[in-house]
Symmetry: C2
Subunit: 131 residues, 2 copies
């Protein structure tokens, strides 16, 4: 059966992206592979096996067009308020914390933060269906 193993995004500034994902999500570089004209970087941490793959195309200078189809990568954290405060203090400019109800009950408590290329990350309070 198919196992979801990574999601790939194209980014322009490898150093900035690696630093952002380390600071924001605690992801480290598992492997880095330079190919002819592009580099692949796999980011992970010890929370599970899924990875974020960054593609850096050497000749890309203009911003990537993110469109309106792809939404975000979501993560869960133990304490979303503390994580929001940490990101504010680290200068990552997260959007405000929000609560999303479903039939009068809290469904999700979360905020969004974006990387340097504008890809959105949803940071969710762990618990309920968001383990």
């Amino acid at each position: 059966m198919a196992r979801m193993i990574h999601s790939m995004i194209r980014v322009r500034d490898e150093t900035a992206s690696v630093a952002f994902y380390a600071k924001a999500l605690g992801l480290r570089v598992a492997n880095r592979y330079p190919f002819d004209g592009f580099t692949l970087i796999y980011l992970r941490n010890d929370e599970q096996t899924f990875e974020l793959e960054l593609t850096v195309n050497a000749d890309r200078t203009e911003p990537y067009q993110l469109g309106d189809g792809y939404g975000h990568l979501a993560v869960s954290v133990e304490d979303v308020e503390a994580e929001h405060a940490r990101m504010v203090s680290e200068g990552l400019s997260p959007q405000p914390l929000k609560t999303m109800p479903l039939e009068g009950v809290e469904f999700a408590r979360f905020f969004f933060v974006a990387d340097g290329d504008g890809y959105k990350i949803e940071v969710l309070q762990r618990g309920g269906r968001f383990e």
Copy 2:
């Protein structure tokens, strides 16, 4: 520490998308939440905990703009040749199987297939760094 738990894409035809991901990747609907104006559908299988989240906006009729930033969701499979043949026979129109070398050694054996909205899925031979 942040745990990657899902990736979200916006799709137009819930029935078609759910059928595609069931047939292509063996994903089932874990939960489905109708909100006012949109529906969230979480897809998973038993290979790991990561989910694919579909957002269906009720008023969306035109195709989503996928841009050139987001790349793909990758999955690993036990036998990529067999999986390719299966997808051909099921009418999923996968692209040709390819091998990507790195310094003379096979780095990845894979093919791409796209869902009804055009989101690409990379199907990789399991093994090496693609577990």
